[in-house]
């Protein structure tokens, strides 16, 4: 491939934010018909590189050449005009518009001088069908889950005759089938001669779909490799900058099923449900167990978690915690009962963008204390520093505004917010979304650690292996209904789960 003329060359790119050198002397070259991975830990600078390329940020230094010509891309609009189509890491669509509008806005189909809604709706449906998604495209985007929004964003990017397609962690909230659909489409596009940039923290996916990869570490360019020519260990060591020996040590620490031995019940839900959101279900959580929720996109896992947490008020059923009847009307009442909930949608339901990392971390514990018992500044700092270290959050500055952190690091702060409250039950909805491998194992470890301390965890993930690896028991949801519950003994396989998730054949 290297003999071909590069479609895109980025050379000596430097980008600095106040106090952070996000990119220093980075390069990237893209060839037609290849899928190129950007690899690196959370905060390595992948998203920044993409934003610099697409004109969201201005470049401090360096050059960009497109098909041999030097270009200056100063806005996403310009990037689009040059044939670069992008899906950014956070879903950046307008949730107040319909799915169709989100796909077509900016390049609407017109007929007789007016927008042709009918045609656009049909087109949109077709596009989504290509991704095996059947939804009502006239409904507002906000009525769909993050995963579907992510698919819509991808559909939007596919809807242009682009030369370069950039996908920043498109798979972070998709489940296996959706990922395969996406890959099928990517392969097709590759054949058509597109150059695709792909970011993901899943090594399997990288090895499955990419041809070459560029590794970044702390904003620095480490190298460019053929995917087939570099093995996993080596790749990881390049990413985290530790040599192979050290890595061996880390990987051997893989977690195991926690296997709680108590059978003491912590939370019991009896026929709890919410009309239109989740059918009534029974659920028992024991002390010290990790309970997994498996299901396909839109199967109702998030809904179940929200009802348990009181984020949506259950309209039927009964709940008891440690034998005591409880009735959650607000998240606050759940928190006061020592429950924590880490939402899957960190952008709208997680971070408080205008506040600092420290303030975001102590928010939940402070709300438990109430506003009179204000944690002293010193205590806050101590907490913040402790968790920054524990979760390896970068930059390690508690006074940084959280909106300026990379996606993965924001996720870690969210996790820290709940760990600080030391909850008896921690509900984690896709906590590993967008988190790099190192941190992921770290989080798994944390979960097992918590369960050893007799805390319960409700764990939602689209990664079946993750669930299998960590959970004591697993419930499968389908069509917003709890359909099956498994004990995670050695015999349970991915196949069993997937069968149940898909329809129990």
């Amino acid at each position: 491939m290297a003999q071909q003329l590069a479609k895109l060359e980025m050379k000596n790119i430097v980008k600095e934010f106040p106090g952070v050198k996000a990119l220093s002397d980075v390069q990237l070259s893209l060839y037609p018909g290849e899928v190129h991975a950007l690899m690196g830990e959370n905060g390595a600078g992948k998203s920044t590189l993409i934003k610099v390329l697409t004109g969201v940020y201005s470049i401090d230094q360096g050059t960009v050449t497109l098909e041999g010509k030097q270009v200056s891309i100063n806005s996403p609009l310009k990037a689009q005009e040059l044939g670069i189509s992008t899906v950014y890491q956070e879903v950046n669509l307008c949730s107040n518009l319909s799915v169709t509008e989100n796909i077509f806005i900016g390049r609407e189909i017109k007929k007789y001088g007016r927008l042709a809604w009918k045609e656009m709706n049909q087109h949109a449906e077709k596009l989504l069908e290509r991704l095996q998604l059947n939804i009502d495209v006239t409904k507002l985007l906000s009525s769909y889950s993050v995963a579907i929004q992510q698919m819509v964003a991808i559909a939007r990017a596919l809807n242009v005759s682009a030369k370069i397609l950039i996908l920043d962690e498109p798979t972070s909230s998709l489940d296996r089938d959706e990922v395969q659909q996406l890959f099928a489409v990517m392969r097709q596009l590759k054949k058509d001669g597109l150059a695709i940039v792909f970011v993901s923290h899943f090594l399997d996916q990288i090895y499955e779909i990419t041809d070459r990869l560029t590794v970044l570490r702390n904003g620095e360019w480490i190298g460019e490799y053929k995917t087939e020519a570099i093995d996993r260990m080596e790749l990881v060591s390049k990413m985290i900058g530790k040599d192979l020996a050290e890595l061996e040590a880390i990987s051997s620490k893989t977690t195991d099923i926690s296997q709680s031995d108590t059978l003491e019940s912590m939370l019991q839900a009896n026929e709890v449900g919410l009309n239109g959101k989740i059918s009534p279900f029974d659920l028992e959580l024991r002390k010290g167990e990790i309970y997994g929720l498996a299901g396909l996109l839109g199967s109702g896992r998030t809904e179940m978690a929200r009802v348990l947490f009181g984020a949506d008020k259950a309209d039927k059923g009964k709940m008891t915690i440690n034998g005591k009847d409880v009735h959650f009307t607000t998240p606050r009442s759940a928190i006061l009962n020592k429950i924590g909930f880490c939402s899957e949608n960190r952008k709208t339901e997680g971070i408080i963008p205008e506040l600092t990392v420290r303030e975001n971390m102590i928010l939940a514990i402070q709300s438990v204390y109430g506003w009179f018992r204000y944690l002293s500044r010193a205590k806050q700092m101590k907490i913040a520093e402790e968790y920054i270290q524990l979760l390896n959050i970068r930059p390690a500055n508690p006074e940084q505004l959280i909106k300026n952190l990379s996606g993965g690091n924001q996720q870690k702060v969210m996790l820290a917010r709940w760990l600080v409250t030391n909850p008896d039950l921690l509900i984690l909805d896709e906590p590993t979304r967008g988190i790099d491998i190192g941190a992921k194992t770290e989080i798994m470890k944390l979960m097992t650690h918590l369960s050893k301390e007799n805390k319960s965890i409700l764990f939602i993930s689209s990664e079946i292996e993750e669930i299998l690896r960590t959970c004591d028991r697993i419930a499968v949801l389908r069509d917003r209904k709890k359909v099956q519950e498994f004990d995670n003994d050695r015999e349970l396989t991915q196949q069993d789960l997937m069968k149940e998730m898909a329809g129990g054949m």
Partner: protein
């Protein structure tokens, strides 16, 4: 915080210095029959009501709200206060406390009403408070019977016209309210909660903050501040004017808040900035009066000053005009991109 205050302070100083050209003794402060007098003291004294309602407005705006009713609450509070003591001939302080208590309680209730509409009924703040903006003035006039009632009860004048330790008493009121606001918001977690609710209400709810109560409280506080301001204004002229008291104050207050660096999009708030913003507006008004600007051009001058202040605070503007950005490009960029990108 430091940088947020820098430009407003510069503008304030500029306005004061302009005065110096017209009046050499502008900065002088002297002791006259036991009272400190001077233009600077006057500005503080006259600006007291505006500073007060701006402080309340700051917290409301920090929750992404807005309170248009403060002007009318001023009228109501003044009317209640003045009518309570209107027929009093005695010199004792009983009626005074009665007047203060009554009007503040009612203003608290009225603010709570706004808060309920916003937080519980879910009405958009601008409309919710518009109701009282219209009706409040009517209520004030109802109380005064449409008259401008003059008060002859001496102690009443102390609130807005009295002196304590050679300084106008209203200055102490402002200082007290300001300190209370700072203490409540910065020494307890209230400030954090307010900023959190204003920045992302959904996420705050999920973090266990009772956003509804925070909003309720903030509107009550704003009502209270307006109530105090109303008492000062009415006591200062010893009368109650339901129709004109506090007219268009809400706009000046919002202006003061924004000049002080608090964004109307909610989130971070800066009480000190607000006070400086209010002082800018007040000094501007006083300056216009004393340097003899023709009455019909008042508004144009005001518009231009507002624009200049806002432009100076805009990082983009400074970069383009002063070229500050050239030296430190990324530093300047943060302001903008930081807001829009996560």
């Amino acid at each position: 915080m430091k940088t947020k205050l820098f430009w407003p302070i510069i503008v304030l100083i500029l306005i004061l210095v302009i005065n110096l050209f017209f009046d050499r003794s502008f900065f002088s402060i002297e002791l006259r029959n036991g009272h400190l007098t001077g233009s600077l003291i006057d500005i503080l004294n006259r600006g007291a009501p505006l500073i007060l309602i701006s402080i309340g407005m700051t917290l409301v705006i920090a929750t992404k709200g807005i309170d248009l009713s403060v002007g009318s609450i001023i009228a109501m509070s003044g009317a209640i206060g003045a009518m309570t003591v209107a027929d009093t001939a005695s010199e004792g302080s009983g009626p005074l406390w009665m007047a203060i208590g009554l009007s503040l309680i009612i203003c608290l209730v009225v603010g709570g009403w706004n808060g309920l509409l916003v937080s519980r009924v879910g009405v958009q703040p601008i409309v919710a408070t518009l109701i009282l903006m219209v009706a409040g003035r009517g209520i004030a006039q109802l109380i005064t019977g449409g008259q401008i009632t003059t008060v002859y009860y001496e102690p009443y004048s102390f609130i807005g016209g009295g002196y304590l330790l050679t300084l106008p008493f209203s200055v102490f009121i402002v200082a007290f309210v300001f300190l209370m606001a700072v203490l409540l918001t910065r020494k307890t977690a209230l400030g954090l909660f307010i900023e959190s609710v204003g920045s992302n209400a959904d996420a705050s709810r999920l973090a266990g903050i009772n956003s509804k109560n925070i909003m309720l409280m903030v509107y009550m506080f704003s009502g209270l501040c307006a109530g105090v301001a109303g008492l000062i204004l009415s006591s200062n002229v010893m009368s109650a004017d339901g129709n004109n008291a506090g007219l268009w104050f809400e706009l000046d207050a919002i202006l003061a808040v924004v000049i002080g660096g608090t964004s109307l999009m909610g989130g971070r708030f800066y009480l000190m900035g607000t006070v400086i913003g209010a002082l800018i507006i007040q000094s501007l008004t006083t300056t216009i009066y004393s340097i003899g600007v023709p009455a019909e051009t008042n508004l144009v001058v005001k518009a231009l000053v507002v624009l200049v202040v806002c432009l100076l605070q805009s990082a983009e503007f400074r970069r383009k005009v002063f070229g500050i950005g050239k030296v430190k490009p990324t530093g300047e960029q943060k302001g903008r991109e930081g807001v829009t990108l996560s």
